[in-house]
């Protein structure tokens, strides 16, 4: 049993575990680990609903993650492989959340953290421990403290918002009454770029989320759209039409033009980087209909990626570099597919409603996307293999173009 091996390694040689002993949770045949989320200890004046909120949050995070099966609340610790214990307390102006993950079989603590902060940061603290549980069990931290930037039409026009990954805590980023499109996070998670018509032309803006400071960094005539930060944050791939046709360029963080990457009579749009920054995947109709292509980051060595489907668009590379998600037009809507960068293993991931704008979570475990399956367009996420498709934005919203930041 792999888990016994893991536990033995944990017990006797933690360093060795870090190097090689994690459970291979990506193997389809792996048995799920049963995890019981114990009721939160709530001493003193703590509000009782906190326990319910934490229980639901841990269950949602870890249930989505993949390697776990959440034990029913009334089952208790019986039969559980792991138990998540938490204690919440209030003192002064702040709260403290102490969390432990205990291996129930060997009655041994796997990891433990204490978080302190304002009461409004409680959910963030709990998501941070979900991240830590995934790190402790799989060797790779979870993405649950990342934020999702998206576009919402809730106020009638398209504005950029940021929310927690689970749809909570939506925060307005733009408020200009114009059309605001295609947010993309800097790798730091502290800045976004987006395109806005607020000064008439579709220009590219770079904005610090924490201070609200903003600069218009590209306002060339025509489109300045679909900006995508390079993995090191130093450059932005951008679609511009200043030279007469939509082409892909590289600009600096300050907007200075660094290179023109495409030069064709066709429409070239939707650039996205490979995680090592060496290649760019993009969409072109140079062979007739829109298809996905890959080029080197200097514009050379262009080759077509997608061979199936008549209309394939909006590709994004996985953080590990092993997969590319994109949307294929089927009928009057779209479906999300994933393909290897060499063109093999082209796999359909969605089928209900119309699904667009896929992007990986920063750890590659999930794909976040827009879907119309329940009527109004909303932000959804699923595991990278297409399972556990879940709506996270409000059911009555008009939300689209999600993008998931790294942990801030």
């Amino acid at each position: 049993m792999r888990i016994i091996l893991l536990l033995a390694l944990l017990l006797f040689a933690p360093q060795l575990v870090l190097a090689q002993g994690y459970i291979d949770v990506t193997a389809p045949a792996s048995r799920k680990l049963k995890i019981f989320v114990a009721p939160t200890s709530l001493p003193g004046e703590a509000a009782p609903q906190v326990g319910q909120e934490l229980s639901e949050l841990f269950g949602f995070d870890l249930g989505l993650a993949g390697p776990f099966e959440i034990s029913p609340r009334d089952a208790g610790m019986a039969g559980a492989d792991l138990v998540l214990k938490s204690a919440y307390s209030v003192q002064g102006g702040g709260v403290t959340l102490e969390c432990r993950l205990v291996d129930q079989v060997l009655n041994r603590e796997v990891t433990a953290k204490r978080y302190t902060g304002g009461a409004r940061e409680l959910r963030r603290m709990a998501h941070a421990f979900s991240d830590e549980v995934l790190r402790a069990v799989t060797g790779q931290k979870g993405p649950f403290t990342g934020k999702i930037a998206y576009v919402t039409k809730a106020s009638g026009n398209k504005e950029v918002f940021v929310m927690d990954y689970d749809g909570r805590n939506p925060q307005r980023v733009t408020n200009n009454g114009s059309i605001n499109l295609k947010p993309d996070f800097a790798p730091s998670g502290k800045e976004i770029i987006y395109t806005s018509y607020k000064k008439g032309n579709p220009d590219l803006y770079r904005r610090e989320l924490f201070t609200g400071l903003e600069a218009r960094i590209s306002s060339r005539p025509g489109l300045n759209a679909m900006g995508a930060f390079s993995p090191d944050g130093s450059k932005i791939a951008l679609v511009m039409t200043k030279d007469g046709n939509s082409e892909i360029y590289l600009i600096g963080r300050d907007g200075k033009e660094l290179a023109r990457l495409t030069n064709s009579h066709a429409i070239d749009v939707s650039p996205a980087w490979s995680p090592d920054g060496s290649r760019i995947v993009f969409v072109s109709d140079r062979l007739g209909k829109p298809q996905v292509f890959i080029m080197d980051a200097d514009g050379g060595n262009v080759r077509r990626l997608t061979a199936n489907g008549a209309y394939n668009v909006t590709p994004r590379w996985s953080p590990k570099g092993d997969r590319i998600v994109y949307a294929r037009k089927e009928g009057s809507g779209f479906q999300i597919y994933a393909i290897n960068p060499d063109g093999t293993q082209d796999t359909q991931l969605t089928s209900a409603g119309s699904n667009e704008h896929p992007r990986f979570s920063p750890d590659g475990r999930f794909v976040v996307f827009s879907s119309t399956r329940s009527g109004s367009e909303g932000v959804y996420l699923m595991r990278a293999d297409g399972t556990s498709q879940t709506r996270i934005s409000p059911s009555n919203g008009q939300d689209s173009h999600p993008t998931w930041s790294g942990n801030m």
């Binding site: 204490r114 925060q171 980023v173 408020n175 579709p202 989320l209 679909m226 209309y311 949307a327 037009k329």
Partner: protein, 217 residues
């Protein structure tokens, strides 16, 4: 910065209760301050008053639906150019109102043109409309026009941003060939962001795949 949180991760001492001395110790380290995303201070935020809104053309109150409507249900992908009726009576002056400015009269004359799905090709009909638009523009050489390219909702919105630009430029090139000075004609793409018909059928899509000609001065 408000809502600052001191996030410190420490080893829980009672971990030792379970494992004696074997518990793995985490190094105490401080974490990045956590903060809610804040909206910009007023000075950094563009207020609606400052937003340069493009002038909206007055839409015909009841534009003729294309005859493609009948076939729309059977063949949603049918590519059909809608027929147009002259944009008459769209801004009938109220009784007693002063005579319209020449630019407003010209705006009323400038007709939209329509496109097939995923195409920026000018149909024969569109070329006819452009010729008329060129006639009107040539009579008022001081007037400048912004050509706004638009798409229907079915394509990729990224791709449609570029396609709308291409549609606007196709009309501009044609007007320039008919003798209208290039510097009188600006172009902009709204992709699929400004539909005139919010419907989700071929009739709506056909109305939305269009160029509009908006007088800017």
């Amino acid at each position: 910065m408000r809502k600052k949180i001191i996030g410190c991760l420490v080893v829980l001492s009672f971990g030792a209760l379970f494992t004696g001395g074997c518990a793995k110790k985490d190094v105490v380290r401080s974490e990045e301050p956590i903060s809610a995303v804040q909206t910009a201070p007023p000075t950094a935020q563009t207020t609606p008053a400052e937003v340069a809104r493009p002038a909206q053309p007055v839409q015909p109150a009841q534009e003729a639906r294309p005859e493609a409507q009948g076939g729309a249900t059977a063949q949603p992908m049918t590519e059909t150019t809608p027929t147009r009726e002259p944009a008459v009576a769209q801004e009938a002056p109220k009784a007693g109102q002063a005579a319209k400015a020449p630019a407003a009269e010209l705006q009323a004359e400038l007709q939209k043109i329509y496109f097939n799905f995923d195409s920026a090709d000018l149909s024969e009909e569109s070329r006819g409309v452009l010729s008329k638009n060129a006639d009107y523009l040539s009579k008022q050489p001081s007037v400048k026009v912004r050509i706004e390219g638009n798409c229907d909702e079915r394509g990729s919105d990224d791709y449609n941003m570029a396609l709308g630009e291409r549609r606007a430029k196709a009309a501009k090139d044609y007007l320039v060939n008919l003798g209208i000075a290039s510097d009188r004609l600006a172009t902009i793409s709204y992709g699929e962001e400004k539909p005139v018909d919010q419907g989700h059928d071929e009739a709506a899509w056909a109305q939305n795949r269009r160029d509009e000609f908006v007088i800017v001065k």
